[in-house]
């Protein structure tokens, strides 16, 4: 395959940045999208141009480190992570535009690399169950209905990649946050802190500069782990309940 890449180049947070165009031959459809960027970079280095900076780590769709806007879609045309996107999803001769996640809460560090530490701070605010090491009862002490356990797992499958934020016109982080609130809220272990958790997380989310949810649904459509919008309903419900409880 032959493809043309238009790649966002930005030397640092203060640079205004712009698209650079590169032509690539000898691309095969079994290559992953990130392997195409590897090939591009090998070529750039050989010709004396600085390679394109981009994040990736596990390259098997689970760490959440990679994430690019490809032709305007978060993680590109398939419902998967950028590292699991393969060139068979593109056609020969295609021009592909590659940009970083765009959101005030995710500032660009360089080229395609953004700072997503705001997500960590939302978890710090309350996305956990307070149990010190050694303080746990036997694992079978509290049975959990299978249905709840399965639903909790489905929400906990979030990889924190930030595609939901990148896809949302409001750059809202509510799918990410809703997934965590739902995961912990479905389990008996998560009940004692349920009210406090949601209030603290929502406050932190707003403080970080993420927008609010207006039920557009781009987040769920872009989510590589197919987290449904229901988690945002659950988030709103939990927040409402917490308010009623006077939190």
């Amino acid at each position: 395959m032959k493809i043309t890449l238009k790649v966002w180049r930005q030397s640092g947070p203060k640079d205004s940045g712009g698209l650079a165009t590169y032509e690539l031959d000898d691309i095969t459809e079994d290559m992953s999208f990130l392997e195409v960027l590897d090939v591009l970079n090998e070529g750039l280095i050989t010709s004396g141009e600085e390679p394109v900076a981009f994040d990736s780590d596990c390259r098997e769709g689970i760490c959440g480190m990679c994430g690019l806007m490809i032709n305007g879609s978060a993680h590109g045309p398939e419902v998967t992570t950028t590292c699991q996107l393969h060139m068979r999803s593109f056609s020969d001769g295609e021009t592909i535009t590659v940009e970083p996640w765009r959101a005030d809460a995710f500032p660009v560090l360089k080229d395609l690399v953004v700072d997503r530490s705001a997500f960590d701070r939302i978890i710090q605010a309350g996305g956990f169950i307070s149990v010190n090491t050694g303080a746990a009862p036997d694992a079978h002490a509290v049975p959990v209905p299978k249905e709840n356990a399965d639903k909790a797992f489905a929400s906990a499958a979030c990889i924190g990649c930030g595609a939901c934020v990148a896809a949302c016109p409001n750059a809202s982080g509510m799918l990410f946050m809703g997934a965590k609130v739902t995961h912990l809220g479905l389990l008996p272990q998560g009940q004692p802190e349920r009210d406090a958790r949601v209030v603290k997380m929502v406050n932190q989310h707003d403080h970080e500069g993420f927008g609010g949810c207006t039920n557009i649904g781009e987040c769920a459509a872009a989510c590589p782990k197919e987290i449904p919008m229901d988690v945002i309903s659950q988030l709103n419900k939990d927040l409402r309940t917490a308010m009623q409880h006077g939190r």
Binding site: D57, C58, G61
Partner: protein, 694 residues
């Protein structure tokens, strides 16, 4: 032993490289007959020298069942008021590091944590799929702490330390309790209790799992506990920071030199103790199931500062990975070996069938070779055995899938029987995400066509040598998880890596490190101290050097070439001739690297080429030591298969009289040779015998 000493020549030029990204084709399909070399080629060729024996002095005497309780009691306590005066550095925040940070933070110590990723939630522990073992015996199928201990020692082919393994088995149950309390959503049965499955190498169901994403769920649990401590102010988290040197002052580990990977700033961090939880070094092979950023730098720099490296040649090659598809491949993807519970592995009986559609090959023309050779364990034999047999049938010309070069490198993993027995829905429920992943990568539908798999480098049992306290031979330097050598011997059983990482981080290290910390706070070290300045200066000099070479080859091209050498000569099968050649080739490559690597950009910036260059430089040195270790161990054990040492039917043949020891290597200096220290392994409980899964 050494009547002749021959210098092996160092090739200054690039070796004849096998074709990029494709492991080289085997030369001999039939197993040739070799004699075990009587002479130690490593000594004969002046590649290393013998040093004094070492031993673990921390495991208390007495019955194995009581050792850990005794040690916990004997390890001194630190008064809660004093804990906040003590600082611990933790490098790496995966299961082993993240859990340690959280637990030490909860206890009230000052913790400074470092990871190269943008968040601790991304450490490669996250990619572990299948599960975590624990001797809960919830299935009442005859499991016990003792059986988990026994299976692990046997599975490790009698090359691990009994005391450590017994402790691992003992604390395994606490891990499950802790994780459930944190909200880890393990798979459950309809009654609301936890489900278990069986895993390679054992006959009981002791594996707890969360679909095919167990590592992710456990890591998120540890990550959330860690973030809670960050919020509480006990842990200072430094993401996108890479450790580049260990600071040793007056013989004690007192800090690290790190590089802020965004600003490029080189920083000094000092503490009372340092914990390395930086993972394994499988990426020395270039292609592996490791993440792109996994590297050996933290432990290798510590090794160069005096920490012994234990059993570097023990590498696990995992049998169920998606085969290599082409030259630009950047990594290999594992599929959980839990697939072997319901999938059947086969190749055609006849070579001429290899190119056919597998669905057109009649049942009687299929060779379910694991079921045939190992009727007792069948498809559930341990990883080392399953991998080597896959290699054997492919070497025999019966591999399947597209030929790379002129060689088909793959075997079928077939779910047809399972789909008939269980229904597609039930299979999807159990393995859905794995099968989807396979389809995404290969473009083939595993519900219709048998999957193709081939072994790939997955885990490294070797690592820095530690005693029972998980302390290296450098006082104050502790090493946990995959980064240390303990617990798995020469082969790790499935679902035991997660167990070890969390056992070390939640339950072992916090108990043992307090004994060391109880003697602190240690004398204050100034940044102007000569040792600190020297460490920092060497880091800066190395960065400057890498950026100034401005040669002609990219870092990746060196890394790929190193990977080929390692895979061909130090992979699934090793021989004296091959290893000697590999040492030679690696030395040549290292020499060229420092003359001809091309690293662009600046030191004061986010510079991914520079990061890679430093890591590959360390892999080159590690690769040489791995080959020397593999060369000196003239026996086969676990994942280390020496062609010269096999039974009549081609199984690994140990030599307990000569090699029942841990090889702990001391850095011999830039121009010197490594020094071998042996720690004898004594088996009081599990009796040494030839492993059999037949």
């Amino acid at each position: 032993m050494t009547d002749t000493i021959t210098e092996i020549p160092v090739a200054p030029t690039a070796p004849e490289a096998p074709s990029p990204a494709a492991p080289p084709a085997p030369t001999a399909p039939a197993a040739p007959v070799f004699d075990v070399p009587l002479e130690n080629a490593g000594i004969a060729h002046g590649l290393y020298r013998d040093g004094e024996n070492i031993s673990d002095t921390k495991a208390p005497p007495g019955d194995i069942q009581s050792k850990w309780t005794t040690r916990q009691f004997e390890a001194a306590l630190v008064n809660p008021a004093n804990r906040r005066k003590l600082t611990v550095i933790v490098v790496g925040t995966g299961l082993a590091g993240g859990s340690a940070c959280a637990t030490l933070g909860e206890a009230g110590y000052n913790v400074k944590a470092f990871c190269y990723q943008d968040s601790p939630r991304r450490a490669h522990s996250i990619a572990a799929q299948g599960g975590i073992n624990a001797a809960k015996n919830y299935k009442e199928d005859g499991d016990s702490t003792y059986r988990l201990f026994y299976d692990t020692v046997k599975g490790g082919d009698f090359r691990s330390r009994e005391s450590n393994v017994f402790r691992l088995a003992s604390v395994s149950t606490n891990i499950i309790d802790q994780c459930v309390a944190q909200g880890v959503p393990f798979a459950r049965e309809y009654g609301g209790l936890l489900d278990n499955r069986s895993f390679g190498g054992v006959q009981v169901s002791r594996t707890f799992y969360a679909r095919g994403q167990t590592g992710q769920q456990l890591l998120i649990g540890a990550y959330q506990a860690l973030e809670r401590q960050i919020a509480a102010g006990t842990v200072e988290m430094n993401t996108r920071h890479e450790m580049l040197e260990l600071v040793v002052v007056d013989g004690r580990a007192r800090g690290v030199i790190v590089r802020d990977m965004v600003s490029g700033k080189v920083e000094t961090h000092l503490a009372d103790a340092v914990v390395l939880a930086s993972g394994g070094y499988g990426n020395v092979f270039y292609l592996s199931t490791n993440a792109m950023g996994c590297n050996v730098t933290a432990t290798w720099r510590a090794h160069r500062q005096g920490a012994y490296f234990g059993n570097p040649c023990y590498t696990q090659i995992h049998p169920t990975c998606i085969p290599v598809s082409g030259d630009h491949q950047s990594k290999l993807t594992l599929m959980s070996e839990s697939l072997r519970n319901d999938g059947r592995i086969w190749v055609p009986k006849n070579r001429e069938d290899c190119g056919k559609d597998p669905r057109d090959i009649a049942e009687e023309d299929r060779d379910y070779y694991l079921e045939r050779i190992y009727p007792a364990f069948g498809n559930l034999v341990p990883r080392d055995i399953a991998s080597r047999q896959a290699k054997n049938v492919c070497d025999d010309g019966r591999g399947v899938g597209p030929a790379i070069g002129d060689f088909r490198r793959g075997v079928y993993l077939d779910f047809t029987d399972a789909l008939q027995r269980m229904s597609a829905e039930a299979v999807a429920e159990k393995y859905g995400n794995l099968l989807d992943m396979y389809q995404r990568i290969t473009g083939e539908n595993p519900y219709e066509v048998p999957m193709r798999i081939y072994p790939a480098v997955h885990y490294t049992m070797g690592g820095l040598w530690v005693d029972y306290d998980l302390q290296s031979n450098i006082p104050g330097l502790f090493v946990t998880g995959e980064a240390n050598f303990s617990d798995h011997g020469a082969n790790r059983l499935g679902a035991s890596a997660l167990m070890q990482g969390l056992a070390d981080g939640y339950f072992v290290l916090p108990n043992t490190i307090r004994d060391y910390l109880s003697h602190g706070p240690y004398p204050k070290v100034e940044e102007t101290d000569a040792s600190v300045v020297a460490a920092r200066t060497s880091v800066q000099a190395r960065i400057t050097k890498l950026l100034s070479i401005n040669g002609e080859r990219t870092v990746d091209s060196f890394h790929k070439e190193l990977g080929h050498i390692m895979w061909e000569y130090c992979g699934m099968e090793r021989s004296e001739t091959g290893l000697l050649k590999a040492v030679d080739l690696i030395r040549g490559l290292k020499d060229e690297f420092w003359r001809n690597v091309k690293v662009l950009g600046s030191a004061e910036d986010l510079n991914q080429s520079l990061e890679k260059a430093g890591r590959v430089a360390d892999f080159l040195e590690l690769g040489e030591l791995m080959c020397i270790d593999a060369l000196h161990r003239r026996e086969s054990c676990g994942g280390h298969f020496r062609v010269e040492s096999q039974t009549d039917d081609g199984e690994a043949l140990r030599n307990d009289d000569e090699f029942a020891y841990v090889a702990a290597w001391e850095w011999g200096g830039e121009e010197g040779m490594p020094v071998l220290h042996k720690e004898d392994l004594v088996y009081e409980y599990v009796h040494l015998k030839q492993r059999s899964y037949k």
